[in-house]
Amino acid sequence: MIHKRDQDYWIFSAELRDAKVMDDTAGKPAAITPLGINIKRILCTGTVTSKQGDDRMTRITVADPVGNFYVVGFSNGFNPEEKSMLDGVGVDDRILVIGKVSSYRNSEGNYLFSIRPELVSKIDEEAIKFWGLKAYYFAKRRYFAIREAQKSEDPSADMLKESGYTQVEAESAINAIRNFPNYDYQKLFEVIEPAMSSMGSSSQLPEVRSIILDYIKNNDLDGKGCRYEDIVVAAKNAGIDQSTVDEILNSLGSLGEIFEVSLKRYKFVDTS
């Protein structure tokens, strides 16, 4: 039997987060995203914001412009290199990850997704930006295809292809309508679009980090830590969007420079 390599899809973490698991045509469980992609393999990029592990396993968090991917490598897995690949990267590295999407259902019945890496590579800022722009372009095209399909009472992939959509876009739209009839796409793009418009902000990450760190250090007036909402407002005034704030708070927390003293309150850790 000939197996074709599963295509790697370039999707944002926010889209993967909202995916659900269904049986595919072969009766095997497979993740399907709200934009209709049957995703088995993913190619994503981002900044490493945390890294944990032991002899058996390494787990890293990779922040894209709108959230986090969780990448886990085991030393005794099918691919013995997956752990060592993750061991070779550090917090704040910009990386590319290609891997299989793996799902886990928690006790509340929600699906959580992680990536088992096949390739991890350090990349530069332009490559990160390139991926972000392309992932946005693909997401937006699929969203437009869904909107087009929603106009018809009996939409079909052929009809969408005649309107200029590709085979994948057309099939994804039909998939999405079938599996996510009540999904709020506007909400998804309300997360993605501001992040895209401030795409350049991650290039000033070190500078932006120090702005946020200084704010937390200097504004903990009652000793209970800075409120998340106040940090977001201060950052917004400095031209930093909310997703970048989240990315930096994750990174500062994982480096031990701040800690979450109570829910959504952050405190500076004085190590001097």
Binding site: L43, I123, E126, A127, W131, Y137, F138, K140, T166
Partner: protein, 358 residues
């Protein structure tokens, strides 16, 4: 009653027709159930031409033969009418007949030239012209070879007898679509017309998505991440005159000519819409890797090509320009240049997004 091609509409059953076979290709597809062979090509009559797909086809029938096809059917494929010949159809050779085929050609962009259209019209700039002479029936004749390129792609052309000029922008009507050695081409013969036209052919990279590739045209650029590197890379020795691979350090045809090392390697490039195998040689790889020709000639035989290619390419975001080629039914790209993604590329993608979604 025999039907004429002009009268065939999108979906008809039980069609009988008398036609001339203009081109015939065989393709093997592999799937979970094993291998399936099918045939495709072009048939024509006095009223026009039409592509066909046949699941069975008699081996005795050759291109140029007139045949009667019984019980075939028509359907739309990619928005165009196509004839289908299956196990219920019958093909009868008509050895004493001939048909004067009416050739029609649509004006298409070069990226869309494919074997599903026997003749096409294109507008583009002529480049890389070389004149060759050949003997035919005791007479010396000329063939002009080169490329025609528009804003979408580049394609090889061979003009038999009709002169083509470097850098001239022309419209070519009724050019025959060919595929040789896996590359798409256009053949300009007696029934073709060439005329100079005024058109602006912008000189900028012709970006395509892998999922949009339909036929092996040239001069295209694909940008993506290198997701795997082949382990069969090698160093070859080549003759500096004929550029063929030589054994034992000497070319059999040019024994006194100097030889030089060349590298062969391949990798898979993903652009988010598909994955494509790209082949590289020293001309495309060394400038990207920052290795000079002198360095390469000195170190070629002591280096591990797999390691060098892997180190420089795996996981990298690159822009690859080159010519597409079909090999064993698989589309590949012969890279002519490779470069790292730049700020300029991202700006261009940003502009495309803005234009498309505003």
């Amino acid at each position: 009653m025999l039907s004429k091609i002009i009268d065939i509409d999108s979906a008809r059953q039980n069609i009988d027709m008398k036609v001339k076979l203009l081109s015939l290709n065989k393709r093997t597809i592999k799937n979970d159930r094993g291998e399936t062979v099918y045939y495709y090509g072009i048939i024509g009559d006095e009223t026009g031409t039409v592509p066909f797909t046949a699941w069975v086809f008699p081996p005795a029938v050759r291109v140029g033969d007139v045949i009667e096809i019984r019980s075939c059917y028509s359907n739309l494929y990619n928005g165009k009418i196509r004839i289908y010949i299956d196990g219920r159809s019958e093909i009868i050779l008509k050895p004493d007949s001939d048909i004067e085929v009416k050739r029609t050609s649509d004006l298409v962009k070069i990226r869309d030239v494919s074997l599903s259209m026997p003749y096409v019209s294109v507008i583009g700039k002529i480049t890389g012209v070389r004149k060759k002479e050949y003997e035919n029936d005791g007479a010396t004749k000329s063939v002009y070879q080169g490329y025609i390129e528009d804003e979408t792609a580049r394609i090889r052309i061979s003009s038999f007898g009709k002169q083509i000029q470097e850098n001239e922008v022309v419209r070519i009507d009724n050019a025959r679509v060919t595929q040789f050695n896996g590359y798409m081409g256009l053949s300009i013969g007696d029934s073709s017309r060439i005329e100079t036209v005024t058109a602006n052919i912008p000189e900028k990279p012709r970006h395509v998505f892998i999922s949009e590739i339909r036929s092996p045209v040239g001069g295209i650029t694909i940008t993506g991440f290198v997701v795997s590197v082949g382990q069969g890379s090698r160093i070859f020795t080549k003759c500096s005159v004929c550029r063929r691979i030589v054994e034992d350090g000497k070319c059999k045809d040019h024994p006194s000519a100097p030889v030089y090392p060349d590298i062969f390697g391949y990798f898979s490039l993903s652009d988010g819409t598909g994955t494509l195998t790209c082949y590289i040689n020293s001309d495309s790889f060394l400038p990207y890797a920052g290795i000079t020709q002198d360095q390469f000639r000195r170190d070629a035989y002591s280096m591990n090509p797999n390691m060098v290619i892997r180190k420089n390419l795996l996981g990298k975001c690159i822009s690859v320009s080159g010519d597409l080629r079909i090999q064993d039914d698989k589309m590949t790209l012969n890279a002519q240049s490779i470069r790292a993604i730049s700020q300029e590329d991202n700006r261009e993608i940003g502009n495309i997004i803005e234009e498309e979604f505003q």
